[in-house]
Homo-oligomer: 155 residues x 2
């Protein structure tokens, strides 16, 4: 049970796009900034574009730019854009299978095991949705020289 | 990003062991109760035994029995027993790689992206730890006939 590494890549790349003033920057240059695979990062950027977090700008001076301010991008937006779904527990309704399933009357309510596991995931998703990339930028900005470094690396 | 189906199997099996009064019950019988693979369920039961949630009783009338009351078994105990770790976001410190890594002074604090993702997972784990299998049993008990069905299936 492991989140795709593309989530880490996407989060840092969105922060970098903000720090240089929005873009557009090519995927090759964005990948080089963190020593990432350009083709794999390009795939993540396409997913971020489909989720309307970045805009793909065509042409020789094109690339990717932020589609909206970091205040309006939550961790959940990014995780969902890359992972597709954030559901990790999948109920296969085993209560309706086997001997127990045969002997039981048809279930009328939701499976209690599933409901409990969903409540816990809900707490996770709520925390992901409550944190914006602007909040993270505030923390990153406490690192000395960070903006100068990102601008130098992406210019 | 998907939790092993063994988590669902383990949760239902622990509830069944409680409903029949604790066990021991063989893994074959426990598997048949929900139409599961006996060899795969046996692997989950061994993991539950290593985590001290069940006790393996040897001998011809042996099997598995609960190691402690459901009040003392949380969802987090079961997920950790089966999944090993509940950490889904893995920071690979890309901030220290590539051009940005080269130009940056050595980091002094934790990565802000990682810290934010960890906070969200913490909320999930806290909710998993706050729910015991006894809480789920209370919900399951509202299903008509459930105890009789489980006892018939496992006797």
């Amino acid at each position: 049970m492991r989140m795709a590494k593309g989530v880490e890549w996407a989060l840092h790349t969105l922060l970098n796009l903000d720090m240089i003033g929005g873009g557009p920057v090519g995927s090759g240059q964005l990948a080089e900034a963190h020593g990432l695979s350009a083709s794999y990062l390009n795939k993540q950027l396409q997913q971020l574009a489909r989720a309307e977090l970045v805009i793909s700008v065509p042409g020789p001076r094109g690339g990717f730019r932020l589609a909206r301010p970091l205040e309006n991008i939550t961790l959940l937006d990014v995780v969902e854009a890359i992972e597709g779904s954030t559901q990790v527990f999948h109920c296969t309704e085993i209560r309706c299978s086997g001997k127990i399933g045969e002997l039981s009357p048809p279930p009328t309510g939701a499976c209690a095991v599933n409901a409990a596991m969903r409540r816990a995931e809900q707490a996770w998703h709520q925390s992901l949705a409550a944190q914006t990339l602007a909040d993270i930028r505030t923390e990153v900005d406490s690192t000395p020289l960070v903006r100068q470094v990102v601008r130098s690396a992406l210019n």
